[in-house]
Symmetry: C2
Subunit: 252 residues, 2 copies
């Protein structure tokens, strides 16, 4: 049993309107790691946002008095605060200069996933894709059309966690694989029933990709090969299945 993670190196800059599927498929072949049947292609949220034009010039954001006051109190750019609030449907925590929000997608993360690093001059913010699962489906369908066989696509983003230091990659979009792998009715080798073991497979794939797609290495796409998964694209599914419904959540 063997899983390989391969960086697709040498990819160009991704600008608005770029064809991610074409660039990644051709880039993988050129890099000597052509996409194979069953591969999971992980692409970073950053390139998806850029390609989809999910970029906001901070100069175009007019901060409210609330954002201005919070920014002044915590030495943050009030235009960025305003944008973070605009991208959220609820504030989960607003404390000690940190802003943990629930995005319109239902993702709970710092600053609504708004990211000002690695974008032109620091004055342009990348916001999350409007519908990351739809983005993943589009990229997947276009890759499948090119390579002629089944693949899965995961869109990764880098999130913090409560209780633990450091960031890990999680899946904010997915297509072609069931993001949750359930062992609810399985039995372990001793015959003892496992009650409710549900593995967040897509999140583990995203986290694994973080082992090579380091920020500074400019590796926006990684191939994960050898993972067995349910290719559950017919079921709809998607990474939204990884979002715990509020009524089941003890920490909202």
């Amino acid at each position: 049993m063997n899983v390989s993670l391969m960086a697709i190196e040498g990819l160009p800059e991704f600008g608005p309107g770029a064809d991610i599927a074409a660039l990644v498929t051709e880039g993988a072949t050129r890099a000597g790691v052509p996409i194979q049947r069953g591969d999971i292609v992980v692409v970073t949220q950053k390139i998806v946002s850029k390609v989809e034009g999910q970029l906001v010039r901070l100069a175009d954001v007019a901060p409210s008095p609330f954002s201005t006051a919070w920014g002044a109190a915590h030495h943050c750019d009030p235009r960025l605060i305003e944008l973070v609030l605009r991208e959220s449907r609820r504030i989960v925590r607003m404390d000690r200069g940190l802003l943990i929000t629930e995005t319109h997608h239902g993702l709970v993360c710092a600053n609504s996933g708004v990211d000002v690093s690695n974008v032109e001059g620091g004055e342009v913010a990348a916001i999350l894709p409007k519908d990351p699962d739809a983005s993943a489906r589009r990229i997947r369908d276009a890759i499948v059309a090119r390579v002629g066989h089944d693949v899965a696509v995961v869109i990764s983003d880098t999130f913090g966690r409560p209780w633990r230091e450091g960031l890990v990659n999680v899946a904010i979009g997915a297509a072609g694989l069931a993001p949750l792998q359930s062992y609810v009715d399985a039995r372990d080798p001793r015959g003892f029933a496992l009650k409710s073991t549900v593995q967040a497979l897509a999140d583990e794939v995203a986290a694994a990709s973080g082992l090579i797609a380091r920020k500074l290495n400019r590796v926006p796409a990684v191939i994960v090969r050898g993972v067995s998964y349910d290719s559950a694209n017919k079921a709809g599914g998607g990474a939204k299945d990884l979002i715990r419904p509020p009524e089941r959540d003890l920490f909202r």
Copy 2:
């Protein structure tokens, strides 16, 4: 850039007192994947607990009136509740039949990490190792003594997360690598300063190992090869560095 995850298959059952380093080193060679310089060996908490005798017969646990009442209200074994409380220093959430606790190590997880699956007959509970970083150091030192070169060891456990469905593996013990990789002073290719990007490398390694070490596959050890890391064993460090100090935590 390439990372490989290799299951060490064919390992025997690990009983109390077993020599993990010997079994894993020899098992890897026998499985055709001898441990190489710089490899990260991930072993599951379950085998470490078993080898260290961290097993409790539920018949030996006398539940308090509090545990008995909670167990009755939520259809849980009151002896298990009692054990979970004994293994915790604080209850973080106790709601809807779920018990999220802070263990004596400072780990926040469900049921203090107490696990009744996959252990003799379901009547024996495995509790976490007393000091998982010390366990990781012992295993690492013994592997290094056998193979004659540097390796790192991560002890993984399977945790839930707030806000997200499904379980992922995290690192509860580590030796031979800095569990956090910091980009605090690094600059991205455009010269824009990254303010505080700290990657939870050991957690990403643990999560990646989950892609092959599925519960039912009985793969208690995985080799992760090709990850660049700081071999910071001199600094002490360990997976306890991944635990966010309460004063910096918005969710305790």
